[in-house]
């Protein structure tokens, strides 16, 4: 028997369009920022709105990243994801209220320490809650999308009512830590300090998540599991355990998003998680179900679009993100960075 010929394939030179196609989503974000620069008369306003949009996008990404992985990995539609956002916000704010002496002091280190304590507390609480939610609510309905929607929405309602029982029915107004109040001026633009911190935290979360998914074995298992869970199991990995881990991590991230969102809005309610879910679902859909990178880019686009349009044409702000979703789905029906799924 003769050996198979081994040779490198010959390839024709790709056109510019073909070379740019894989980078189209990130180019779209840049194009949106440039479009904002053209449409918004004052550069300082544009810069303020851009930072605001990026901050909002980062927070939505943090809330949405867990949801997209949960869907991609186990085909679970969790309409109760907003519950973790609300609980995270209430637990985080409770910690901040306990640490008022630290948040009220004009000391950046103390303020950030208090914020970190609140974030860790919120993430721990929502992580544990995520574990219980998966075991009690999600596990019995694997493989049944309609039941998943109904049962997880039921779970959301129960959690919202529990928040009202524990923290009361009134909305809670909160103030940001002292050193994170106000704005700094850069190139004539007022940039809110808190939004810059939110951008920083969002970037750290994205880079850490990307590193984990690309550079660790558990990340490889998750990425492979999103594509073909059956084959991952046939290699010898217990995907169910991995899924529980991802569900817990996703819930904890939603809790982190809840703390950040609460401080961003400066008010929290039991229904705040549910209200953010519309934006979260838009981001998950336009990013491509199961794609963390797509989710990140989608979140930035939604945040920027919302801020630019609210400034230019406030009445159109409500529909701007729906229009964005429609446009992207007409261009790429499976989202900007679709995940390959085994048939």
């Amino acid at each position: 028997m003769s050996a198979a010929p081994e040779h490198a394939p010959t390839m024709a030179k790709m056109s510019l369009t073909e070379r740019l196609a894989p980078h189209a989503p990130i180019l779209l974000v840049i194009a949106l920022i440039l479009a904002g620069l053209v449409a918004i008369p004052a550069t300082s306003s544009w810069l303020t709105l851009t930072v605001s949009g990026l901050a909002m996008g980062m927070m939505i990404f943090i809330m949405a990243s867990g949801l997209t992985l949960v869907f991609g990995l186990m085909d679970v539609i969790n309409f109760g994801h907003g519950a973790f956002v609300s609980v995270g916000a209430f637990v985080g704010v409770s910690f901040l209220l306990l640490l008022e002496h630290m948040t009220g002091a004009p000391n950046l280190l103390w303020n950030l320490t208090a914020l970190m304590v609140a974030i860790v507390g919120a993430m721990a609480a929502t992580g544990v809650m995520g574990w219980a939610f998966e075991r009690v609510i999600v596990k019995p309905v694997y493989g049944h999308h309609l039941k998943q929607i109904l049962v997880t929405m039921g779970g959301l309602i129960v959690v919202e009512q529990l928040i009202i029982v524990l923290w009361g029915p009134e909305e809670i107004y909160i103030t940001r830590p002292e050193a994170l109040k106000g704005a700094i001026t850069f190139a004539g633009a007022a940039l809110e300090k808190y939004r810059l911190v939110a951008v920083g935290i969002g970037l750290v979360v994205f880079l850490a998540m990307r590193w984990t998914l690309r550079r660790t074995k558990i990340g490889l298992i998750v990425r492979a599991g999103v594509e073909n869970g059956e084959m991952v199991q046939a290699l010898g990995y217990n995907l169910r355990m991995v899924f529980i881990g991802v569900f817990v991590a996703g819930s904890a991230l939603a809790g982190l998003g809840g703390v950040l969102w609460g401080l961003y809005q400066e008010v929290i309610t039991a229904h705040m998680g549910n209200q953010t879910m519309i934006l979260v679902f838009i981001v998950v859909i336009i990013g491509g179900l199961g794609s963390v990178e797509g989710c990140f880019i989608g979140a930035l686009m939604v945040g920027l679009m919302q801020n630019y349009v609210a400034f230019l044409e406030p009445k159109a702000a409500l529909i701007s993100n729906i229009a964005l979703m429609v446009a992207i789905l007409m261009w790429r029906p499976t989202g900007m960075i679709p995940v390959v799924k085994a048939k």
């Binding site: 028997m1 003769s2 050996a3 198979a4 010929p5 081994e6 490198a8 394939p9 074995k217 490889l220 298992i221 990425r223 492979a224 594509e227 073909n228 059956e230 084959m231 991952v232 199991q233 046939a234 290699l235 010898g236 990995y237 217990n238 995907l239 995940v339 390959v340 085994a342 048939k343």
Partner: protein, 240 residues
Amino acid sequence: MSDPILKLDGVFTNIAQYHILQGVELTVPRGEVTMLLGRNGVGKTTTLRTIIGHWRAHQGSVTFDGQNITKLPTPAIARAGIGFVPEDMGIFADLTVEENMILAAVSGAIDDARLQWLFTVFPALETFWKKDAGTLSGGQKQMLSIARAMIEERALYLIDEPTKGLAPAIITTMARAIKELKDQGASILLVEQNFAVAKALGDTANVMDDGRVVWSGPMSELATNADLQERLMGLSMEAH
């Protein structure tokens, strides 16, 4: 004769309302290439998927190396020492060739000596090591799929139609790889439609029809008996 590495006793598997396997009796001797042959749709793939646990046997038992694995979850079956190469190859297209192989090394880091051996069997893997697996050709994907199963030593390999749709030269590479695997002492249960490959590789043959094994015997006997082939598999003399 030593105990077989794998034994199926009266295995029935249903998929939804369809009764696919209807009492499969199958024995895979140690250190041999056991062929599973038959027409399309007779239950060959379902047999392999039942062994690895993707589908559950509703009746009967699957015994691997003396252990009843009928009700074990798929990861436990794989870790017991069974490598699986599915018909659709099951490669992870979004991962690079390297990442596919890292993932396949379940017990830890890739053994470098074994990897170098695989590079000699499938040189294309080394060439495309950093490429996304989704960009490989059909033959290269099949090589990756088999190499992935081979990266760690397994007692038994279940390989489902490794030569399907491949060019003759690549079929030769596949056959050589399976032969080398056998020479290392592994046992192989191979589903194959290419009768020439089956003849070249098989020690024993099992022919399936209507969800059960209807003939078992030495491959050499089946290979030399045209009437038997015609009767069991619908093969005509033109096929080989």
